[in-house]
């Protein structure tokens, strides 16, 4: 089975600033792969090279075994769907219209949708629990609802690889879990590969098959959550003291922040 995404010895600079330094990553099909790291570590840039939004100065990107360059814009969109971090606030379309636009890469020039496209859109909206909002305009929805609609749109694209940039950072707790559950389900049912960037270490630990921890354009650690989320790697990446123990729900690490005064109180924990 070909890996869904291969990044091979990537080097990326924005002007003089080196953003990615010799990164090599392989994501297998059907994996839930989460990239974590502090701000400025290059997480988003890495994601952007994965779906072709930026081109690395060196190295190759392969989607489903084929180099990225071999894909036309349209063909790529049939395989990779992206949910960017920020969407404009003033999109005038209704939920149904936005989700249906996800069928675009599969349709000819005028993009006149057929019955089966509308079916796909309906199913995508049901999956993300936004079907009841179909006639509402996107700009009138809450952040959580809007995010689910955008994910529905991405699902409607029927991609093999779904790429998301911090999909839960603006949401409140209930919605965060909801979105992550949706993504897990997606991967489970249809074998879609999910690659995302996350801010939240615990969420990442609970859901990811594998993690990639980055710092300043370099890989600090890559592998299963238990491997990657250790005290040493986290201190190296984040530069602060973190408490690492085991999550009572699942055999994955649990990260707790440590306020300075509590640190002084219990040195034995070190």
């Amino acid at each position: 089975m070909k890996p869904a995404l291969t990044l091979d010895q990537l080097h990326l600079s924005y002007g003089r600033r080196k953003v990615l330094n010799d990164i090599s990553v392989t994501v297998e099909e059907g994996e839930f792969f989460i990239i974590i790291g502090p701000n400025g570590s290059g997480k988003t840039s890495l994601l952007k090279t994965a779906f072709g939004a930026v081109r690395p100065q060196q190295g190759t990107v392969r989607i489903l075994g084929r180099p990225l360059r071999a894909y036309s814009g349209r063909k790529l969109a049939q395989v990779v769907a992206v949910v960017p971090q920020a969407a404009p606030a003033d999109i005038p379309f209704t939920v149904a219209e936005v989700v249906l636009m996800g069928r675009s890469p599969h349709l000819p020039w005028l993009g006149l949708e057929r019955q089966q496209d509308r079916e796909t859109a309906r199913r995508a909206m049901q999956f993300t629990h936004v079907a009841h909002l179909a006639a509402r305009r996107l700009e009138h929805l809450s952040a959580g609802e809007r995010q689910r609609v955008l994910i529905a749109r991405a699902i409607c694209q029927q991609p093999r690889l779904l790429v998301l940039d911090e999909p839960t950072s603006a949401l409140d707790l209930a919605h965060q879990v909801q979105i992550m559950d949706l993504l897990a389900e997606l991967r489970g049912n249809d074998g879609v590969t999910v690659v995302m960037v996350s801010h939240d270490l615990n969420l990442a630990a609970l859901y990811a098959d594998r993690l990639l921890l980055m710092k300043e354009g370099n890989v600090v650690s890559m592998g299963e959550p238990a491997q990657v989320l250790t005290f040493d790697t986290l201190e190296e990446a984040y530069g602060c003291v973190l408490l690492v123990d085991e999550n009572p729900l699942k055999k994955v690490p649990r990260i707790t922040l440590v306020p300075k005064r509590l640190l002084a109180v219990d040195p034995a924990r070190r």
């Binding site: 969109a77 960017p84 149904a96 219209e97 993009g111």
Partner: protein
Amino acid sequence: MTAPSVPRRILTVSSGLAVFLGLSVWLGLSIGSTGQNLREVFALLIGSAGPDETLANIVWRIRLPRVLLAALAGATLSLGGLVFQALLRNPLAEPYILGISGGAAIGAIIGILLGLSRFPGVALLAFAGSMATLFLVLVIASVRLSLKQDSLILAGVMVNAFCSSLIMFLLSLTQDARLHNILFWLMGDLSLSDGTQTLILAACLAPCFFLLFFMARPMNLLLLGEEMAASMGVNVRAISLVLVVVTSFMVSATVCQSGLLGFVGLVTPHLLRLLFGPDHRVLVPACILGGGAYLVWCDLLARFLPAQGELPVGVITALIGAPLFIYLLLRAKR
């Protein structure tokens, strides 16, 4: 989803507006400074008219080129406004925003001052002027960022402002009768329309209309944001360039013959969006047909309202367009 399918919507909206346009044209042909003759004109149109040559001359040779030009100019300006509002993601965008009006005005004023005839002299200079400013805007915008929306708007505003100062300078040098000509051109004036020129314009515009219709879906996707549009297979840079160039060409060609008609391109897209929704596949034909009808009506009023002579069409489009726009804005806020 209970809404009717897009192809069905395109058909119903287009046919409805086409009928409306037809009626408006009939009305426009029937009303003029020599009176209103609805029935006789209808008879003329279906070919069963009497031998009154004078009326036939008036309708075919004087009113028809003018009404046709109004329909074409209305279609172009509305479509231009629609495209720029989608491309620049700005509800205040209108067809002149990328410096076209400034350049065209300077070209036209120079032509009028040199004593050239409206066509081809003044028209060609106006066209050359607008293409020059478009080029300037594209260069300025791409120097900053790669054709991003903000830099396009900024460059357009800067170039228009500079052109305004040049125009004021040129106006201050002008004497009597030519000043009158220039002012009429700046306000928008359909009275010097000519059958042949209008047909040439129609031939230039038709391919642009078709092309823009086929760009309707990418325009929809652009409204989701450049990142998402790109991820769905839209070559944002190429599409933006094509949209800018085709629209600017079409607006410039029209402005050469009609002068700088204002408010049409700003208001009609909003109005049509309110009536028919934001899908550009429906809006592009709606703007062509509905925008054309809108200007035919404005021209009609310009000829009908005053007791003596006629008002410049630009005055009517401003008088109707400005309050209409304010109303639409207020309504959208709710």
